[in-house]
Assembly symmetry: C2
């Protein structure tokens, strides 16, 4: 995906608690929901020792609206009660980008 800068990235880094406890299904659902939010631009995710999920957004308003989305609020609450031992959220302005394709 190519995007015109500037736009926003939300970097979500986390460590999970033991066991799935409904996490995988909810993560999938949240990804689908985020895609339908106004101002959503994209999504990238990988988990190894830590999980890194980055969502891309048109502006701060879009990030704020997604943070307050009803089902997402429920997921955030479950994140704190059940799924994560630690997480960190960073809100970032993407100033420039470049890429390489073989």
């Amino acid at each position: 995906m190519h995007l015109d800068t500037p736009y926003y990235a939300v970097i979500f880094t986390s460590t999970r608690t033991a066991g799935d406890k409904g996490y995988a299904a909810m993560a999938q659902e949240m990804e689908e929901l985020a895609k339908r939010q106004p101002g959503y631009l994209g999504f990238e995710s990988a988990r190894e020792n830590i999980g890194i999920t980055i969502s891309y957004w048109k502006n701060l308003q879009a990030i704020s609206d997604w943070k307050q989305q009803t089902e997402h609020l429920l997921a955030q609450r479950k994140g704190i009660s059940d799924w994560y031992s630690w997480y960190k959220v960073r809100v970032c302005l993407v100033e420039r980008e470049y890429d390489f394709t073989r």
Copy 2:
């Protein structure tokens, strides 16, 4: 790690070619080298379907210096010739952050 905002993040997302071809050793070496660069603040990495590596820096000058570091230039060249089928680099200003610890 807690950092005072604003600072910079470089998001490096990539897909690998097949086979190691010296990649793991070089990735380890680059992580060690980056830690010794002026303005280096931290590093997070995970690979699943795609790889996401984020390095954190004090300012744009620190990012530019790291990009031009001699051994890192060699690694970048090997990245294009051997290791990556695709990558994307995003330079981002981290405007705010918050975290949760159980």
